[in-house]
């Protein structure tokens, strides 16, 4: 097990071993999870088993989160630099990129070459979309880094589900405007995931494209120039997906539509749960305070964090967006989700259940303590929410 060490100025020696170091290798096995349904079908001949990857990922992540629990351990801040420089961690996400391409091709090819009932085609498209959605998360990790190799890898893996604008809008849009009413990627109290998606999907695309257009204008170039980094990814995606249609036939049209949408839905789901109701305070000059640790929802579950490259340690990610996944830190007293991401994604699909689980948790956060002025609320819902929660919490009412 690799040990990082540093002699401090006062001659103390600090050391650290990352207990998760070898667990990150599991990311190399996720393609097998994605393809397991097809494998089981080839063994059994039954179409029912095609559902295995979906059940495995949603169910398995939640079960393993419950079984393996949380891990709050952090590397000492003094050793973060060494951890960041360790190439082992950098290469793991990069190596998953060709796997994302391959898995889509394999699932697409299998779907087109077998006579399957339409629910099976749906399940296969969703499975492919879920795995490509995991690719968007990997693009998130790589796209935040400064090296041009990692940024290119991000663009390539985003091409798979045709989501080329993501890194631009996320890095320069969401991170800048997070937890403000202006951010289409930050959800509001009282807003369900469906209406959020209607805002987030087009809003994020428009913002990403506009940011890139602005950059190109400064360079004296057109938004349609091949230097447009969103367009580069979309173009690769178009080549890939048109090739699949040519190679595998008309069934690719519904297959890819479902695949793309469900991959985007993973990001929509993550955005929805990560900042629900949280609000940065506006300063006198109109700008917002820096993003604080309590402007993100977090979780320390080992299993789902391994799947998502520590995305659930979200507060630290927003504090230090260029920090690599292996170094992201957990802190006590942060807004915490009751279960890992995959469980929360399912809960979000049932709005009354989501509100039941999250609204009081939001109101009870120490920096909010029932004060609706400190919450990002869906417009027009404040009076309803104040009335709904006034009896059960000591909410502070504004007296006109």
């Amino acid at each position: 097990m690799k040990t990082y060490s540093l002699q401090l100025a006062d001659n103390r020696l600090i050391t650290y071993q990352d207990r998760k170091r070898h667990l990150w290798l599991l990311s190399m096995l996720y393609p097998l999870l994605a393809l397991s349904g097809i494998g089981l079908y080839l063994l059994t001949g039954s179409e029912w088993v095609l559902i295995a990857p979906l059940v495995g990922i949603y169910g398995g992540a939640s079960v393993f989160d419950a079984l393996l629990g949380s891990d709050q351990s952090n590397p000492p801040e003094e050793l973060v630099a060494q951890l960041e420089d360790d190439p082992y961690y950098r290469w793991l996400p990069i190596l998953t990129v060709p796997m994302h391409l391959l898995v889509l091709v394999l699932i697409a090819g299998f779907t087109a070459s077998h006579d399957l009932a339409w629910p099976s085609v749906l399940v296969l498209a969703l499975t492919a979309g879920l795995y490509s959605g995991l690719g968007i998360n990997t693009a998130h990790e790589m796209g935040h880094k400064k090296t041009s190799l990692e940024r290119w890898m991000a663009r390539i893996v985003l091409a798979v589900p045709f989501y080329g604008h993501f890194c631009i809008e996320h890095n320069r849009g969401h991170h800048r405007h997070v937890a403000t009413p202006e951010d289409p990627a930050s959800s509001r109290m009282g807003e369900n995931i469906y209406s959020f998606a209607c805002r987030e999907l087009p809003g994020a695309f428009k913002r990403g494209w506009a940011l890139e257009k602005e950059r190109l204008q400064r360079l004296g170039k057109s938004q349609w120039s091949l230097e447009n980094e969103a367009l580069q990814s979309f173009a690769l995606g178009a080549i890939l997906q048109i090739s699949l249609i040519i190679a595998f036939g008309w069934i690719m049209l519904p297959f890819l539509a479902i695949h793309n949408f469900y991959a985007w839905w993973q990001l929509t789901s993550a955005n929805y749960i990560e900042h629900y109701g949280l609000l940065r305070q506006q300063k006198a000059n109109g700008s917002y305070e820096h993003c604080q640790p309590y402007h993100s929802w977090n979780a320390d579950f080992i299993a789902s964090n391994l799947l998502l490259y520590h995305l659930e340690r979200h507060s630290d990610h927003h504090a230090h967006p260029t920090r690599r996944y292996q170094s992201l830190r957990s802190f006590p007293d942060l807004p915490t989700m009751p279960t890992g991401y995959f469980g929360m994604f399912l809960i979000a699909l049932i709005p009354p259940l989501w509100y039941l689980l999250m609204d009081r948790r939001l109101l009870a956060l120490p920096h909010i303590a029932g004060d609706f002025d400190r919450i990002n609320i869906k417009p027009g819902r404040r009076a309803y929410l104040e009335a709904k929660y006034s009896g059960t919490l000591q909410t502070r009412h504004k007296i006109a």
Binding site: R176, R215, R218
Partner: protein
Amino acid sequence: MSKYTCPDCGYVYDEQLGDAHEGYKPGTLFADLPEDFVCPDCAVRAKEDFVAQTSGGH
């Protein structure tokens, strides 16, 4: 010509070099960058947060 550093991620804006990727030509003064300029790498630090590095020697 001075350098300005993002206090969070270490990105350096060097006035002598500008930033080719972002479209700021060499010689563009930090003061002349747009008021809504944010760190091109991390986007969580705005123009007002950047720290000027004092250049040594004349």
